[in-house]
């Protein structure tokens, strides 16, 4: 365990992250780059960008609370040190996505009210399910909920957003690229570290599997709200049309082999849900847990 954890040292983190892919960035992107004019000049697109970024801030605040809260419960000093790097990664994500809200025109005094107005209630329940375990200092379910479920979801959502923004909004895509690199490290830690702990404490399995099922349901319900709700669906269709007008058919990139510009909202939701759930299944299998199919919202 100790040898494996040396790959997650703070020295490694310093060299790969602040002194690596974040070097010469400001708030996660190259200095001087700004939000795309397409978004800033279109009220609908700007409002939609604020809604999406709100969910990211909510998710990252949850990740910050979870990773910092788990340090005290970590069974060894090496895991504490890894979680220390994760805590600062998550704080950075909170900061850069909050900064994006400011860049999109949210006033500093309006930040909390904007978050309250747009936070998806199902995403809030998703966060509460995880934080209940963290509050109880229940380490193994806490790490699975955080580093496999929450981070696994964020990883796929951010990758899809990255594909959709690479051409249309390079600033946001750059911000996402650094975040994705962080999430990859966090998911890797969860997979590598937790397997051995679960073998030592097999009695924890039912509790963790129940948490996975519950969090997966709230995740799917969040996706459904974003893609299936009538207003959201109409907005998405309009946005896609405007993006194609501005950047052409290839403007939204491809993800998981699909041209995002060609997908309707239901297809996009199905692709995202199946990708994330597929990843959960694979990763949970690697740490010796049986994936539990969630109820469909």
């Amino acid at each position: 365990m100790a040898d494996f954890l040396s790959g997650y040292s703070i020295q490694y983190w310093l060299e790969s992250c602040p002194q690596g892919y974040l070097e010469e960035t400001e708030y996660g992107h190259k200095a001087g780059v700004s939000e795309s004019d397409l978004i800033l000049g279109d009220d609908l697109l700007r409002e939609q960008a604020i809604k999406v970024t709100t969910q990211m801030v909510v998710g990252e605040r949850c990740a910050l609370a979870a990773s910092s809260g788990l340090i005290n419960a970590a069974p060894d000093e090496a895991a504490k040190r890894f979680l220390a790097t994760q805590t600062l990664d998550e704080a950075r994500h909170v900061e850069i996505f909050t900064q994006r809200l400011y860049d999109l025109g949210v006033g500093k005094n309006d930040l909390e009210s904007t978050l309250r107005e747009h936070a998806n209630p199902n995403l809030v329940k998703f966060a509460e399910a995880l934080l209940e375990k963290v509050e109880a200092k229940d380490f193994i379910p806490g790490v699975v909920g955080q580093n496999i479920i929450l981070e696994g979801m964020a990883f796929s959502v951010f990758e899809m957003l990255y594909a959709g923004n690479q051409k249309l909004n390079p600033k946001f895509a750059q911000t996402l690229a650094g975040t994705i690199a962080d999430e990859r490290r966090h998911v890797g830690f969860g997979e590598n570290y937790i397997g051995a702990l679960i073998k030592e404490q097999p009695e924890k399995r039912p509790e963790i599997e129940k948490l996975q099922k519950e969090m997966s349901y709230y995740m799917l319900a969040t996706f459904a709200d974003q893609f299936r709700d009538n207003d959201a669906r109409a907005e998405l269709e309009t946005m896609k049309k405007r993006a194609v007008e501005a950047g052409g058919e290839e403007s939204q990139g491809t993800w998981q082999g699909a041209n995002l510009a060609e997908l309707d909202p239901e297809e996009m939701e199905a692709l995202l849900a199946s990708t994330v759930l597929g990843e959960f299944k694979t990763r949970l299998g690697r740490i010796g847990l049986e994936y539990q199919t969630p109820a469909q919202p």
Binding site: E26, T87, A91, R92, E95
Partner: protein, 258 residues
């Protein structure tokens, strides 16, 4: 890179936003951690120490690890209690600083030939320092923001700052370089504690009395811990008194008397 003069010209709200950010931390540590491996230049040769010098250094480093673990658990636990986003983000930078300190001290123990640092830390930890850690943990568990920030970012950090500064003057080149990098972090942590509590003391005058009680409880543990560390480092008695005074002066800057 932020120019300090430019930062101090900001209005109070923008100043807080700037100095409590990841971005500020990132720019600050880039200056003194770049090209360092585990806190020192990798080309520095390992010093030749006598068995007794090595043994005393191991004891001191083991106790530094206890202090840094207390600070890591304390700072991370306080994120959930922090009153706003900026203090949460600042504490996150402190969490990684404390984790780094623990890592570089542990790495130094390995370099000095300690095969199982955790066992050695357990064996050599000062009972007074352990007691301090338990009291700090209790304040964090009670979600007592003011008292816990005072215990952690003023008392513990001032103790570490004073000890590390004194030790750096006597240490071998590798240990000195490790300590100098840590001292720079500690200065930032103390600044946060003083700033945060200074503002709160202005608005809540009764807070001073409560912090005095915390101080009265912790001071004897800190002073005894300092004495033990300086004994191990064989610092002359006159200079030990300077260190005690340096710690007390740092704590009294907030006007919290012992």
């Amino acid at each position: 890179m932020s120019d300090p003069a430019e930062v101090h010209a900001l209005d109070p709200e923008s100043f807080e936003e700037r100095v409590h950010s990841f971005q500020f931390w990132f720019e600050a540590v880039q200056g003194y951690l770049v090209d360092r491996e585990y806190g020192h230049r990798p080309e520095l040769p390992e010093p030749e120490l006598t068995e007794s010098e090595r043994d005393r250094l191991v004891t001191v480093l083991c106790n530094y690890c206890v202090g840094e673990t207390a600070a890591l658990d304390g700072a991370s636990g306080l994120i959930a209690v922090a009153p706003n986003r900026l203090t949460k983000i600042f504490l996150s930078t402190q969490v990684v600083d404390e984790g780094r300190h623990l890592e570089v001290f542990r790495h130094r123990l390995l370099a000095l030939g300690v095969e199982h640092p955790e066992d050695e830390i357990e064996r050599r930890a000062s009972p007074r320092l352990r007691e301090f850690r338990r009291k700090l943990e209790a304040l964090v568990a009670e979600r007592d923001w003011d008292a816990a920030i005072f215990a952690q970012n003023v008392i513990l950090e001032a103790m570490e700052f004073s000890t590390f500064q004194m030790h750096a003057g006597y240490a071998d080149p590798i240990t000195r370089e490790v300590l100098i990098g840590i001292i720079k972090d500690e200065r930032r942590h103390i600044g946060f504690g003083e700033n945060e509590l200074g503002r709160r003391l202005k608005h809540h005058p009764t807070l001073r009395e409560r912090l005095q009680r915390v101080r009265q409880e912790l001071d004897p543990l800190v002073l005894a811990t300092l004495e033990e560390a300086l004994g191990e480092l064989q610092v002359p008695r006159a200079e030990r008194e300077d260190l005690g005074r340096s710690y007390l002066a740092a704590v009294e800057r907030l006007g919290v008397r012992g």
